[in-house]
């Protein structure tokens, strides 16, 4: 599974993207975020406030219950500020 990060989330985590292989039970967006928080203090800090976290799975916005699978591209980023 490919994870990509943007804006301050990328800076706090410290990488722009990474390939991960979460354990079998980690099969939804919300479980993936929970698993990531346990990977280190940088993840825990970056992902501490769910209100300012948006997730896209394979380039579409998805909510917490959406399934994530091996091979997916999961993007994690703050609320957008373009325009």
């Amino acid at each position: 599974m490919k994870l990509v990060y943007f804006a301050w989330l990328k800076e706090r985590i410290g990488v722009a993207e990474e390939d991960v292989s979460p354990p079998a039970g980690v099969d939804t967006v919300v479980k993936l975020l929970e698993w990531l928080r346990g990977r280190g203090p940088n993840y825990a800090l970056a992902l501490s406030n769910p209100a300012v976290i948006r997730v896209a799975v394979n380039l579409e916005y998805r909510k917490g219950d959406w399934p994530v699978r091996p091979g997916d591209e999961v993007a994690i980023f703050p609320p957008v500020t373009g325009g």
Binding site: F6, A7, W8, F77, V80, G83
Partner: protein, 148 residues
Amino acid sequence: MIAVRVQAGDFEPGAELAAVAPGDHGVGGVASFIGLVRDFGPGSAMTLEHYPGMTERQLQAIAEDAARRWPLSGVRIVHRFGRLVPGDRIVFAAAASAHRKAAFGACEFLVDWLKTKAPFWKLEESGGQRAWVEAKDSDDAAAERWSR
């Protein structure tokens, strides 16, 4: 006709306007919006980051949504990324229709929605400081009124 583009370089507003619905004599009006970088202090500049792939897809979806809601002959969105300074153009959005109300309404819809849906993030620099711009509740509210 729907066209969306994401690019680092500037765009020429006249050329973009002329390309919204070229040669379509059923068009009675074209409404457009151009967003610019405001001066927000000495040495101010901003860098727009985006998510290549998802950005184009979201802009296309926003344009298609507008075309479902209003009778449009053309929709065009151009959004820049990278480092920009005060006075630089950031975004162009335009809608063409037989009548002005549809063109104005659709143009406003495009801008409201792209501000809350298109995956862009602004990093502002000023006086040696840098800060990621926070999303505004007022932008969410502006987009949300189209859902009612």
